[in-house]
Structures are given as C-alpha cells and as structure tokens.
C-alpha cells in the first residue's frame, strides 16, 4: 500500500522517492534555501502505537549522526518534524550500495579490503565519538562513483551509554550481521560493529552468506555458536593474512576481538599493502533487512559459548591445506591389516617380559644378571 508522495516536507521540495526502509521512506529532495539536492529520510509518526519510540529513536539517530563529520560517514544537514512525519536531510550520495555491488559481480580481494578499511575508518571515528552504529551491513554501505565509501543509516545508532534495549524489550539490527552479544540482547559496544564488519568482509571475500538461516532463531544460533570457515577455504585467491583479520573480527568473545576499529584498520592496511596484484575474489548476494527482534521482558540473553562447551561440543578441525593428509585418511577409511589391533585399542601396560624383550636397559641388566649368575654358580659349584 504505497502512500502518496508529498510535494513538500518542511522547507524541502520533494523530487522523487529513493527507497523505503524498515521505518520510513527516503526521498530525493531539494533545499531551496541553499539550492542543494539532498536525501530526505522520513519516519511516519502516524501510528499512535510506538510513536514515542519512533520519534525518540529518530531524534537520537539525527543527533548522533549529526555529530559525525567524516569522509566515510554520510553527512547529516538537518532534522525536524512536520505533522506526522519526522525527517532528516542528509547528503545525497551518487553511487551503488555494497549490497548491489556484491550481487552484480565478484569483488576482488583488494577491493573488498579497501572497502572494509574505509568502513573501519568511519566506524573508528564514530566510536571515538561514543556512537555505535549497530547495523553495519552491505545495505548500509554506499560505494560512491568517485570518492570514498560511505557508511549510511545511523538509523539505529544510539549513544553508547544508553540502555541497549528499548522499554518494549527490542533489540535493533540485522540478524545476519549482528554480533553474538547483540543478537542475544546483551549490552553492545564498538566491538559489536567490528563483528558486523567482519561478517561483511567475509561475505565480500567469499561470495557466500556467512550466518544464513531459515529464520531468526536459526540465524541467532549460527551467529552465537557456529565458527566461520576461513575465507581462503572457499576462495583460494584470498591471502591467508585476511583469514586472520576476519577471524579476529569474528571472535565470539568480544574480549578477544579487535578492541577498536583503528586496530582493525591497521591490519587491513597491512593486508592491502601485501596484496597488490593478487587474484580477485568472488561476489555475493543475499537479502538483508533491518529487523526488530522482540526480546521477552526480563529475559536474559543467550550466553556466549563458554570455552568449556566449545571444546567439548565442537572438536572438529579442518584439514590443513598446506599438507596432504589424504593417504592417512584413506588409511582410516580402509585400515591396514595390523591397524585394527594397533589403532582401535588404548595402549596396553608393558609387562615384565615385554619390558625385558623390548627395552634396552632392562635387557642389558637381565644379561648381566644371567652372566653374573653363571659365574657365581661356577664359583660355587665347579
């Protein structure tokens, strides 16, 4: 049910619709005062239910994003309210969403790293100002035709010190790109954005969907418990160093993740420097939408996998790509004649006879005892 496009919102003249998001419509508009074309993001406040929340969230977004002036963050010009609409005028970006870019063609590894680096720089700046994005995903990253990468939609960004849940018990973000602590409703900080960026980087490098699932519960389980495969496993063109960058960004435990985005930037810069001239990686596609997850009031978030259960429950390790283990695996499939006896049983205790037979020192001692015994007998009875 498409609503009629207004002709004017505030002082802005509406030129057309750019898109519809989870919470509102984005228009292309003209600011007659400055003769500037802008993107005007609106949120309808018409529905009485949740109006205060929406309004509050919108204003938070506007205030938070308005403080950020950085080449990798979309610039906010103004925000306000008119009738049942809250609106925010922002820089109109000419470019392609990363989501589209991933859908259209494969991303070379160097390009993927360059994008991730720019996003990390923007996030680092935002984090420095106490703002966590909370919804880093390909749909919120714009690749400009000429110029830098821009992070868009601090729509759910909130001040770091604010409570992580709304009064209705909602957690905001896109499940597939959420960090384990975010999806389980625990407090989040800048490390949550780093996790999300890790997911984006992984998907840019592999062309796959990292934490896909049929429903939010399944995605939540995957995000919380499933360890990712290194990107170079599905795309051999990815340098091993990027496996480490991704692995660190995707640590389930925030304490061992990159602690700030600058740290990740440093590693991405090193990776980029090392990677000049490498083969391209594959591209990706998956639908993604910002979702609001209802958390039961008072429910505790699912705990992050503790080390004990991780070790006990999942001991699977992949084969190394540097060493060929096929012969030994073949041996496990079709054991040699003696293997059933040798490999299928726990070690036996070593008895005295076997010890004398197989152990050099007891064998020598035994020989000494025999010789000395013979000589002693000779002395005694000869």
């Amino acid at each position: 049910m498409a609503a009629k496009t207004p002709k004017r919102i505030g002082r802005y003249k509406i030129l057309g619709e750019l898109g519809r998001g989870a919470m509102g419509v984005v228009y292309k508009a003209e600011d007659p005062a400055l003769d500037r074309v802008v993107a005007l993001k609106t949120i309808s406040l018409a529905e009485a239910e949740g109006r205060k929340d929406y309004e509050k969230r919108f204003l938070l977004e506007a205030k938070a994003a308005g403080k950020l002036t950085h080449p990798n963050i979309v610039t906010i010009f103004e925000f306000g309210e008119e009738d049942d609409l809250a609106y925010m005028a922002m820089e109109l970006l000419q470019g392609t969403e990363l989501r589209e870019r991933m859908r259209a063609s494969a991303l070379p590894a160097s390009e993927a790293v360059d994008i991730a680096l720019q996003v990390a720089e923007g996030l680092a700046f935002a984090h420095e100002h106490g703002i966590v994005h909370r919804d880093v995903k390909p749909g919120n990253i714009m690749l400009l035709e000429r110029g830098p990468v821009k992070i868009m939609d601090f729509g759910i960004a909130r001040m770091r010190h604010a409570d992580h849940k709304t009064s209705a018990g909602m957690v905001l973000g896109t499940p597939r790109y959420m960090s384990p602590e975010q999806i389980s409703g625990q407090p989040v900080d800048q490390r949550s954005d780093i996790f999300s960026l890790g997911v984006v980087l992984h998907e840019m490098l592999t062309g796959g969907s990292l934490f896909a699932g049929r429903n939010v519960d399944q995605i939540a389980h995957n995000v919380t418990y499933i360890e990712h495969a290194p990107p170079s496993r599905s795309n051999p063109g990815v340098p091993q160093m990027l496996d480490f960058v991704v692995a660190r960004a995707l640590k389930k435990d925030p304490a061992v993740r990159y602690q700030d985005a600058y740290e990740m930037c440093a590693d991405l810069r090193d990776a980029l420097a090392e990677m000049k001239g490498r083969a391209p990686a594959r591209g990706a596609d998956e639908t993604e939408r910002t979702q609001t997850l209802k958390m039961e009031a008072g429910a505790k978030g699912a705990p992050l996998a503790p080390a004990a259960s991780q070790i006990v429950a999942d001991t699977r390790l992949p084969l190394s790509r540097q060493f060929d283990s096929s012969a030994a695996l073949e041996r496990l499939e079709r054991p040699w004649r003696n293997d059933r006896k040798r490999l299928a049983h726990a070690p036996r205790p070593v008895g005295l006879l076997r010890r004398i037979w197989r152990d050099r020192l007891p064998r020598r001692l035994f020989a000494v005892a025999v010789v000395a015994g013979c000589l002693g007998a000779l002395a005694a009875f000869a």
Binding site: Q240, D270, V312, S325, L332
Partner: protein, 228 residues
C-alpha cells in the same frame, strides 16, 4: 556403501602459538608461515599414511597414527626449529579421533580437545604430554617413556584431571646410570654369593690357595704358549 570409520586412537599434537589472537594480522600471517615451514621440515620422515595435519585458529594440529615416538620427535624438532623467533608451545596426548563429516574434510575427537587444552598450558618452547601419551609411548617403544617426567596435573574444561609430563633428556640419562649401577651391583652380588657359598664349604684359606693355584697354572700356561 560408505561407512563412517570408527574412532581410532592416535597421537594428537597441538602446536600452538601463544597469544596468537592478540597479535596483528601481519604478525599472525608471518608466524603461521613460519610454523608451517618448521612443521614441513619436522614431519619429512613421517610416512604420509601415518599423519594428518589440521588447521587450528592459533596453530596446527598433527595426528599421528600408530607411532607416538615419531610424534614426539616431530614436536621436538618443530620446537627446536622455531626457537629463533617463533613462540610455540605444544600439547601431546593419545586419544580417540575420527574423520569429521561426510566430506572427511577434517577430524574430530576427544584427543583434539585434550591436546588443545594442555597446549594452552604449555609456555613458549615447552611440550606438555598426558599420561595417555606416556602409556602409548611405553607401549610402542618400551623405555622411551623414561625421558618423560611428571609436571603436575591439569583439570580440563570437562573437569577431567590429566597427569602431565614434560620431556627431559636428563631423566633418560639418569635412568641409564641407575641401570649401570644396578648392573654392577647385581654382578658383584651374584658372583659374591657364589664365592661366599664356596668359602663357607671349604674355608677361606683353602679357597684362597685353590684360587691362587688355579691362577698360577693359568698364567704358566699362557707364558708357555707365548714362549712357543
């Protein structure tokens, strides 16, 4: 009909780079490459059909089938080869493993969990081994376990206690000395017992005269042969 191979007992070596997750990606890549090079050299004389190499997030896991001695040798070589510049600790156990998944793209099992757990305790350039490995080593090569000495106990994430050992070549040398001393004492004891018995029958003087006469006759016989 492809059946799932049952678990087997293998020696599992977890070569872990300490504090790996906290290092920069550049350093991680360098250390990883160094570790792989060191392991490639160290496993050169282990038959391909006896070893499976696995990737771990912070190191490499080696599963050796039916040859715990080689596993220990490889580990010692790997640690020696990387002593210059590569911090590395190792945990070794002997436990159950089996191929993982339909594609046999990996390995899983309790052996891996235990090796991972104790490798975390091993400091740089240290090897920690479990009693299970010691028993396997003793079974495969009795006496080789003599170089392993107790290094305390460790309770793992599953609340199982593991008696730990570390490798110390001095322990094997000390054992050699103990056996040499025991050999000398045994020799003297048995010979002395025979002599004592004879002395108790003949009396000391008579025995001494007979021994002296025997030795003298023997010496004369030798002298005559030399003179001829």
């Amino acid at each position: 009909m492809a059946s799932t191979p049952a678990s087997v007992f293998a020696t599992v070596v977890f070569l872990r780079i300490p504090e790996f997750a906290r290092r920069s990606a550049t350093e991680q890549a360098r250390l990883r490459a160094q570790l792989e090079s060191a392991l490639a050299v160290a496993i050169a004389d282990v038959r391909e059909a006896s070893r499976i190499v696995l990737d771990a997030a912070d190191g490499i896991v080696l599963a050796v089938l039916g040859d715990p001695r080689s596993a220990l040798r490889v580990t010692e070589r790997a640690l020696a080869a990387v002593a210059a510049g590569l911090p590395l600790g190792a945990g070794i156990t002997h436990g159950a493993v089996r191929p993982a998944g339909e594609d046999r793209g990996g390995l899983l099992g309790d052996g891996i969990a235990v090796a991972a757990g104790i490798s975390a305790l091993a400091g740089s350039s240290k090897i920690l081994l479990t009693k299970e490995f010691r028993d396997a080593l003793a079974d495969a090569a009795p006496g080789a376990e003599a170089s392993l000495v107790r290094a305390g106990t460790h309770t793992d994430a599953s609340l199982r206690s593991h008696q730990l050992y570390h490798s110390d070549p001095r322990a094997a040398r000390a054992r050699g000395r103990r056996y040499a001393l025991a050999g000398v004492l045994l020799f003297l004891g048995l010979l002395g017992a025979g002599v004592g018995y004879r002395v108790s029958l003949e009396g000391a003087k008579s025995f001494a005269e007979r021994v002296t006469a025997t030795l003298r006759a023997g010496a004369q016989g030798i002298a005559q042969r030399l003179g001829r």
